[in-house]
């Protein structure tokens, strides 16, 4: 395929450089002391220090933040994918009362400006006793991840011929067997893509996560805010934490990359 013209390859190269430079800056910041960061301009850190990383690795609060974040991200991903799968399936296979309206309505939920919804969210989850639990954050993030998951999965599933469903029925398989053993494995790339998107959203979101947690379930993004204090800004630790927060994401992408490429190739996303 000759779609990548020379121009776009140069643009891609330029864009990659554009992407990498701030990331590089993040990394150098993580390797320098605060006085160094705020005081001088250096292309390469002249006095590299691992103190910032050490601070994060030794302080249990950071570790706990990671664990908390991971737990609600995983929960959110599980919930999103598991409720989106049947919904996407019926959207792709059936026409039913209000289906189109429902589909658009689902998407509109992404439009809610979070700031004002924070207090209702807080009230809602405290009234059912979920405040300060990973589940609360996971459920709240569902508002954003579920519609997207449904949309992505629906795109893929529409591409899977309905004859497969028919065939399975004729072969005598129960719906459950068909769905879990035949249909889902066919769509595993789609699930990979969906997982990526759920992970991406839930991992980086700050406002809801902050509002719905106290001290028990405090996520990493909220722990980060402690770097801003009345005695200055702890750039180095913030950057080191930033570096650490990127890592799980990169791991996820690396592991689902085959699915991503394949999934992107097949589906709507």
């Amino acid at each position: 395929m000759n779609r990548s013209s020379r121009v776009s390859r140069w643009v891609l190269l330029g864009y990659c450089v554009y992407l990498v430079l701030p990331l590089y800056w993040l990394l150098t910041m993580a390797l320098r002391s605060n006085a160094d960061i705020a005081g001088t301009f250096e292309l390469l850190p002249s006095n590299p220090t691992f103190a910032n990383f050490a601070e994060i690795l030794t302080n249990p609060v950071w570790y706990q933040g990671f664990v908390n974040s991971l737990s609600y991200v995983v929960l959110n991903t599980l919930i999103s994918v598991s409720v989106a799968l049947p919904a996407a399936y019926v959207f792709s296979r059936y026409r039913f009362l209000g289906d189109r309206q429902l589909f658009f309505w689902l998407l509109t939920n992404r439009m809610a400006p979070p700031a004002v919804f924070l207090l209702p969210f807080f009230q809602l989850y405290s009234s059912i006793g979920l405040f300060d639990t990973p589940l609360a954050v996971a459920l709240a993030h569902c508002l954003f991840t579920v519609p997207l998951s449904v949309w992505i999965l629906e795109g893929f599933m529409s591409g899977v011929p309905t004859e497969i469903d028919d065939m399975a029925r004729i072969d005598g398989h129960s719906f459950w067997f068909f769905f879990t053993r035949i249909f889902l494995p066919i769509n595993r790339s789609a699930i990979g893509v969906t997982v990526f998107f759920c992970f991406m959203f839930s991992w980086v979101e700050l406002l809801l996560a902050r509002t719905l947690t106290g001290s028990e379930a405090k996520p990493i993004v909220v722990v980060m805010t402690r770097t801003v204090s009345a005695s200055g800004m702890d750039w180095g630790v913030l950057a080191a934490a930033g570096v650490f927060t990127v890592l799980p994401g990169i791991l996820v992408v690396w592991f689902v990359r085959q699915h991503l490429v394949k999934g992107f190739a097949l589906g709507r996303v």
Partner: protein, 595 residues
């Protein structure tokens, strides 16, 4: 059948998830598991161990300390095994509490405390959320006493005076010694009740490079140019001259660019603090009367009895009075003319450490929270022997300022208990609050965090020993002058709603989009609108706002006190005072007081 290949990936995924969930679970339970039950004897032993290993020095004797801890142990008995959550902003002092004192408290009383540290804004947000919703989020908060006007009016906060003699009498330490807390007046409402328990305290002061100020060559140059000696500026004219002197005329010292002024101006909530803390009162916008000026306070809000009646000049307030406009204008002018190019883009947190880099000659509005970070060895502002090259001194005042007015900001982070917190948790939290402020630990805590809050600690030998390294901190706290440094007062009926108005309006003026006058007019108007809404609903009781009728500005200008009419000359002759003279006058006053 071997359809494993495909199902495998899913199975593997799910297993992965369980591992993660398992890890999470372990992470959480391991905390519980590592908490062995502690017997009564063990508590006593623990107390001894902590006293010997950690809580030294102290203003108490070892026996007194142990007795105090024994009381905590007994009082905590009903709450043993409980786990409570408290929160405060990120500050060295609180870090010490969170990492060391909370552990000690647990080992001594059996109450587990999760002392959370978050950004200050987030503390307020959580506090607000709890107040608004009535849902318990944290069992106790450490927040600034600026909210005293809000706390005393809205009724969400437990009045400690009532609590200590009522519900909480059994958990109130007999050795608390309330009068020893230097910030107690800040946390006392207009009704005379104490609402919060001070936990750490800091002020904003004038900061300067003592080494440069005592450099004969520079002194000579300055005197030649301005006609008076280089020293600690007493008024803004002198500050302005010195700023100009360093930024424009000296420019370089030892080959390095230097500046005569440092400040910050990024549009950020912290820009509001810059103003609501003391700036207007330093310029002289309010009235005389410590702590905050009555009837008009440092925000320009006028109160009659305890009722706020307006902030616009037309209602008798001073938020947009000439003095306030002057204050804002000076802030902007200096920021642009004398501060480093980056300063207007910085927040409080970013700007704070800048003087430590050694390019700043003086800073009018410097928070003592940065002390700890400015005495680290190897800094350009620290001598080889570990003494600082800088000193702190009282801030200069503006032309509208009169004797007896607030001269700067001093605030105390104080323990706040909310009435929506269940009583037993509240009691346990109260125990913790008393523990971290108890005389047993307070001196040690003060030495770690340099935010003294007990008079007994300030006057201790340990502090005297420490004084040379702290650039005047100890001297300041020991001087009677410190009473001129106060937090936001009780005239402000709803701190959160009103404080947010400041930074947005100030930022508009900083960017040059509107004039200083227009910005303050708009601010005053918005403040009055908030007051008006509070008045409409009439829920704040006796001390709720009741706006004055609007009148011609001249009427108010002709009344005594604030708002004051514009001065013809806003730049009087500069005045300075020699630092050493200042110090000795403090010491003398202190000695006088002591007698």
């Amino acid at each position: 059948m071997g359809d494993c290949a495909l199902v495998n990936s899913i199975v593997r995924g799910i297993t992965g998830v369980f591992i993660v969930v398992g890890l999470v679970a372990c992470g959480q339970t391991s905390d519980e598991a590592s908490a062995p039950s502690i017997s009564a004897q063990a508590y006593a032993a623990n107390a001894e161990r902590w006293v010997d290993s950690e809580f030294q020095p102290s203003t108490l004797t070892r026996d007194e300390q142990l007795a105090e801890l024994a009381w905590f142990n007994t009082a905590a008995e009903p709450f043993r095994g409980m786990s409570i959550n408290v929160v405060s902003e990120t500050l060295t002092t609180h870090q010490y509490e969170s990492e060391t004192l909370a552990q000690a408290f647990y080992e001594i009383t059996g109450i587990r405390v999760n002392h959370d540290l978050i950004q200050e804004g987030d503390v307020i947000e959580k506090l607000q959320t709890q107040m608004q919703s009535g849902e318990n989020i944290f069992d106790a908060y450490v927040n600034d006493s600026d909210l005293i006007g809000t706390h005393s009016r809205y009724g969400y906060v437990v009045a400690l005076s009532d609590f200590m003699s009522g519900e909480g009498a059994d958990v109130t330490s007999p050795t608390l010694d309330l009068d020893d807390f230097i910030g107690l007046s800040f946390t006392t409402g207009p009704d005379g009740k104490v609402y919060q328990l001070p936990d750490q305290q800091f002020a904003n002061l004038y900061w300067f490079r003592h080494d440069w100020f005592s450099d004969p060559e520079l002194k000579e140059q300055f005197a030649a140019r301005y006609g008076y000696p280089l020293g600690v500026p007493v008024n803004w004219s002198a500050y302005e001259d010195i700023a100009e002197f360093f930024s424009v005329h000296v420019k370089e010292i030892d080959g390095q660019r230097v500046y005569g002024h440092m400040d910050y101006g990024k549009k950020d909530p912290s820009l509001g603090w810059r103003f609501t803390d003391a700036w207007l009162s330093m310029a002289g916008a309010g009235d005389q009367g410590i702590p905050n000026g009555l009837p008009v306070d440092e925000w320009g809000i006028r109160a009659e009895q305890c009722r706020p009646v307006g902030s616009s000049v037309s209602r008798g307030g001073a938020t947009n009075a000439p003095a306030a406009v002057y204050a804002l204008q000076k802030y902007i002018d200096w920021l642009k003319a004398y501060a480093p190019e980056q300063a207007p883009g910085m927040t409080f947190s970013e700007a704070g450490p800048v003087p430590a880099q050694g390019q700043i000659a003086q800073q009018i509005f410097w928070y003592t929270t940065f002390t700890a970070d400015m005495i680290k060895p190897d800094l350009p502002v620290v001598n080889a022997d570990g003494t600082p090259k800088w000193r702190m001194a009282p801030s200069p005042h503006g032309p509208y300022w009169e004797e007896g007015m607030k001269l700067g900001y001093q605030d105390t982070g104080a323990w706040t208990l909310l009435s929506s917190t269940p009583l037993d948790r509240r009691k346990a939290a109260w125990l913790y609050a008393q523990f971290v402020t108890s005389k047993t630990v307070s001196l040690k805590k003060t030495l770690v965090g340099l935010t003294p809050f007990r008079d007994s600690d300030i006057r201790s030998q340990a502090m005297t020993d420490m004084a040379p390294k702290l650039g005047g901190l100890v001297e300041f706290y020991r001087s009677p002058a410190r009473t001129a440094w106060t937090p936001t007062g009780t005239n402000v009926p709803d701190y959160p709603k009103l404080a947010q108005l400041w930074w947005a309006n100030v930022a508009n003026a900083v960017s040059g989009q509107v004039s200083a006058q227009a910005a303050m007019d708009s601010l005053a108007q918005q403040q009055d609108r908030v007051l008006e809404r509070l008045q409409q609903h009439g829920t704040l009781g006796e001390c709720g706002p009741r706006l004055n009728e609007e009148r011609d500005a001249e009427y108010w200008f002709s009344q005594p006190g604030a708002p004051k009419p514009a001065l013809d000359n806003e730049k009087p002759q500069g005045e300075t005072v020699d630092y050493e003279t200042l110090l000795s006058s403090w010491t003398a006053q202190d000695a006088e007081m002591a007698q």
